[in-house]
Subunit: 487 residues, 2 copies
């Protein structure tokens, strides 16, 4: 090993002891690669009931950090967390016609409880608009009660025909926000605030996943909403993933659940509402955006372990130096794990930490230690450098400080390379298969959407030409449609 940066040979750990990664290459079979990363990085397992999921500690540790990032931003936007029941009377689901149509085939029904048939079956919540609005009708009396801003972190259940870990599971974890406002402008502004200040910011700044923002076509919007705002990201295979949505519900639920408030003059008015959600599917997005042929790559802020210090082999001096170094890195505030399981080969362990996406590995072996040095490996670039022990801390800080930005830039460059600006349906169909096609919405329209659907493509969102939100009610022919295949 020489000084300075060295790009690792593939696979990373071949030099370390003969273990190999043996992941399917992404270019060969992306879905299979995804499945292998989820399993081998110990992110999740299939549950015993079809389509259900066990989120293992490594996956859940990432989810906790995503949750904290989103929760912090939700609180900054003034919403308070609460909790509404899992079981919803079937009758509630029928109160808002479009909403029920949207969810009917997806419902899980409880028909027995306490050893008897229930008099009325109950639905396991697929989302909580109905039950929350039932309570909003009780809680909201006066304009003084508005805006009412609540959020809940919970599980929801939806029947899935083609389940896939993190991306589509019968049960998933999410947050769902529900708000009521005195007027349409207040509701719209809040839906947009959530879209940009909560979702886009958490996704780009914390998860390092660049997103496009825009609104859905009538065909693609949430059942019961008048407008659905969305964050869309491009995965490593060029397909789109919907990362989070924020809905303007207008007065649809307010009328169905009779949510009225007395205005300052004493007149009764229906509220205007929003709802918005982001789920464990973000973990799938993280894997598919940043993952490479060697496994996961995690931005440090989301990594349950930021730095792993590995003892290359059993040696008292190595063990002591590794312990000291781990403590030193912990003192600088990093989440550090000391891997001294020298009864397992170094190569095997090194590959496993690479698979799990730990941002930095510090490898300490007797030979390097004899020269007062250790090898620092940067996961996202797959480079290693031999540095003096006294410089390890500084090196780790440098890597952790730039990893997220470099991952984000890489994903952005990939998306840019796979995005084509086109002017016809024929070009759209071609470009949409490889990545995103940006095409004037007037070229697509309702009829074009049907044609796209027949090719498994869809309009992911509508934007202004400059990528901005069409929040001012721009005319249809000023809009650009972003077209792609989607998860």
């Amino acid at each position: 090993m020489g000084d300075g940066d060295t790009t690792l040979d593939a696979p990373a750990a071949a030099a370390g002891g003969g273990a190999k990664t043996s992941l399917t290459a992404r270019a060969v079979d992306f879905p299979r690669w995804y499945q292998e990363v989820v399993a081998r990085a110990e992110m999740a397992d299939n549950g015993p009931v079809r389509g259900s999921m066990v989120i293992r500690p490594w996956g859940y540790g990432i989810w906790e950090r995503l949750q904290w990032a989103i929760d912090e931003r939700i609180k900054a936007a003034g919403a308070h967390n609460a909790y509404f029941p899992l079981f919803i009377p079937e009758a509630f689901m029928r109160l808002e016609a479009e909403h029920v149509e949207g969810f009917d085939p997806e419902l899980w029904m409880v028909t027995r409880g306490g050893g008897r048939e229930l008099e009325e079956p109950v639905v396991v919540r697929p989302t909580s608009e109905t039950v929350i609005n039932h309570f909003f009708a009780k809680w909201i009396q006066s304009h003084r009660d508005l805006p009412l801003l609540v959020n809940q972190w919970c599980n929801v259940a939806r029947w899935e025909l083609r389940p896939r870990l993190f991306l589509r599971t019968t049960e998933f974890l999410w947050q769902e926000g529900h708000t009521a406002h005195a007027d349409e402008e207040g509701a719209r502004a809040y839906a947009l605030r959530i879209l940009t200040d909560v979702y886009r910011d958490a996704m780009e700044e914390v998860a390092a996943v660049p997103v496009l923002v825009g609104h859905k076509t009538a065909r693609e919007r949430f059942a019961g909403a008048v407008r659905t705002w969305t964050c869309e990201a491009m995965m490593g295979d060029g397909k789109a993933l919907q990362m989070g949505t924020s809905h303007e519900l207008g007065q649809n639920f307010a009328r169905a659940f009779d949510i009225q408030y007395a205005d300052a003059a004493g007149g009764m008015r229906h509220v205007w509402q929003t709802s918005w959600g982001a789920s464990t599917r973000l973990i799938g997005a993280l894997i598919m955006t940043h993952g490479d042929d060697f496994g996961l790559r995690l931005p440090p802020a989301l990594a349950p372990i930021e730095v792993v210090v590995l003892c290359v082999r059993e040696d008292e001096a190595v063990r002591r130096a590794a312990g000291t170094l781990a403590d030193e890195l912990r003192h600088s505030g990093r989440r550090v794990h000391l891997d001294d399981r020298t009864d397992t080969g170094f190569g095997r362990r090194s590959v496993d930490w690479e698979l799990k996406g730990v941002p930095v590995r510090v490898e300490i072996g007797p030979r390097d230690l004899g020269e007062g040095k250790a090898t620092v490996v940067t996961r996202h670039r797959r480079t290693k450098e031999l540095v003096g022990l006294s410089s390890v801390r500084e090196t780790v800080e440098r890597i952790c400080g730039c990893a997220a930005a470099e991952l984000r830039n890489e994903a952005l460059a990939f998306r840019t390379a796979r995005t084509a600006t086109v002017a016809s349906m024929a070009e759209t169909l071609e470009a949409g298969v490889a990545g995103f096609a940006r095409v004037p919405w007037r070229v697509v329209g309702d009829a074009g959407e049907l044609e796209l659907a027949s090719e498994s493509l869809s309009v992911r969102c509508l934007q202004r030409h400059d990528g901005g939100l069409a929040a001012g009610g721009e005319a249809d022919d000023e809009l650009v449609a972003v077209v792609g295949r989607s998860y």
Copy 2:
């Protein structure tokens, strides 16, 4: 208003504008008082499905802080969070005979999904031993995989005949920890570590609720456990509430689910296990331990708002001073709310904050402000003091610094006063109705437990004479039984 400490007249806000608390007195009807506090402090509502619960933002804000306190301690004990599915195949529930008998009458069953009858009905988890042990059997191969320490925060559903908000609801939120160890000693030590370092510590140090620790009799222990350790607290009506339990499961589930590991010599052995849980019922305990006739009293660490700064009435100088003071208190790290809703009477608002249990109220009115002063009200003592504006911060810090200890001492004194050390069944029956009876376990025994049950009493836990844990397998006649009525 004079200087120095003044105990408030009842109700607190009578002087402030004629509003009154109008809670039922605890001594008159404790259950009704409880119900009123839950409703009036906006802690929770009954859900639309019988026995279900909506946790409103004020209640949930308290739960979040309890969660953080418990989660921090669970992580310090080395366990990692994960998530297992809500839906459990019915067959899983039948694998451990005693376990299934314990839960059969409480199960909620899903029989329909995706618009069809399910081939196999699934159970909505009442607890997750079965599904988690199914995965432990897959994940555990070698002694290197042990101990395996996982925890999950989730909802569970159990049929309840007599539901009561926070205390007994068909669905509740909790954490459930599940661990596997190489030997019996490891499992027992971990079950005890959770009992004392996680539960007892969080309850006493954070919630300020003193608890007794001990183990359950065979009659009272968890279905499927070989020993159940428990924290028991005395509520304001003298009844006991089980606050959290930690179970030694022995090898019951290990055999039922065939969880084996290869020891260092290559021999196959069944693991030894624990499980442990604490739930939203802790919020009920908090209300019933610290609440008084004016509402809730919260230890600052659990209060969503620690200090409310109230503008007594509309006045530009008052508003400005209140804003400045609120900012100053925020700077010292407190959670502060500025209540400037002067279109609502000061008395009404004052009573509401008292009901919600906010630890400190700072009241600013034009007259006091003219003298450069504000009134600081200590919720848990119901005392007020007129202090100079420049001393408010220091006064608030002093109150927040001692509130938890004072609440804990008060609860401890109450429990001590209501606990009788007795030597016969007759005395036990008498003392147990008013509070706790401490009686030698040999006086009670299995036959005595039946007699207690006929009087709605039960053995809450078994301890050593000195209140310590009988963790060394003490002989039966060295044990003391704590007897009381329970929630």
